[in-house]
Symmetry: D2
Subunit: 92 residues, 4 copies
Amino acid sequence: MSHMIRDKQKLLARVRRLRGQVESIERALEGEAGCEQVMHLIAGARGAMAGLMAEVVEDHVRTHLVDAERYPGALNNEAAEQLLDVVRTYLK
Amino acid sequence: MSHMIRDKQKLLARVRRLRGQVESIERALEGEAGCEQVMHLIAGARGAMAGLMAEVVEDHVRTHLVDAERYPGALNNEAAEQLLDVVRTYLK
Amino acid sequence: MSHMIRDKQKLLARVRRLRGQVESIERALEGEAGCEQVMHLIAGARGAMAGLMAEVVEDHVRTHLVDAERYPGALNNEAAEQLLDVVRTYLK
Amino acid sequence: MSHMIRDKQKLLARVRRLRGQVESIERALEGEAGCEQVMHLIAGARGAMAGLMAEVVEDHVRTHLVDAERYPGALNNEAAEQLLDVVRTYLK
């Protein structure tokens, strides 16, 4: 997953932030926080997870759909961008 | 949208079925149907719309991300299939 | 569905707008519009359908969870609002 | 959050399982796993998070929308169940 090497730090930062959010949910449940707070924390973590997925999908589309060394220029960047717009809409 | 010509009938059948479902929601509201029935009809129409989007996205990925005449074989079909699996999960 | 009588016009306006959006998708497919346009139209119709569902759910929560004539004041409005906030987040 | 005391163990088990899934994503990224595996792990964690939210929402509806000590029997259980069916559909 070569693009992962390139983008690894960015993705790792995201997943660690997400882990921190899940740990907050755990602490809230342990501390018997109110439902409202727990639902709010879960909604936030869900958004962070959607953002992580969107980024991995973006990397996947830009890097894996076409072997750029063998077929330079074969990926239609405009079509890829249109696809990612739809994906981001649905991942929200 | 050449692939649309090929798949046009299939997509048109889907969107017409979806229109029928939306018309059912309209009739249910006009007839003062119960909330439960209205929510059920909307959930069904939402599923149909997700199925329509999934099919259009699939066509888009298979047909537009790479110009197959100019770059035959450049689209990595396995990577495309992995992408579509994710898209279908999120479109549900 | 008594609250539907009250809110009927608002909901009917929403569902008719949604029907118009679905008809636009149909016309776009018939006219062999580009994938991008079709995906954009579907994403818009999906948003409209989510808005319709959010409104029906809101009516349902405010009107049916408690029989207000028999149990006036029994619905905890703050808890209902917290619930609807979550529902709206997920319906988006 | 009295119902949280009752259901606390169940929810804590869920959130800890979710934390484990997020840690798997982190390890996969650190180990430079393939995109496919990472996307698959994220989709699984997303399902677990949706299940957690569904359970918290269910507890919230059953316990907080009506103060059952003050208004015993005021919550319309059938209407609550219909609402939760919709919520579960959208949380998936």
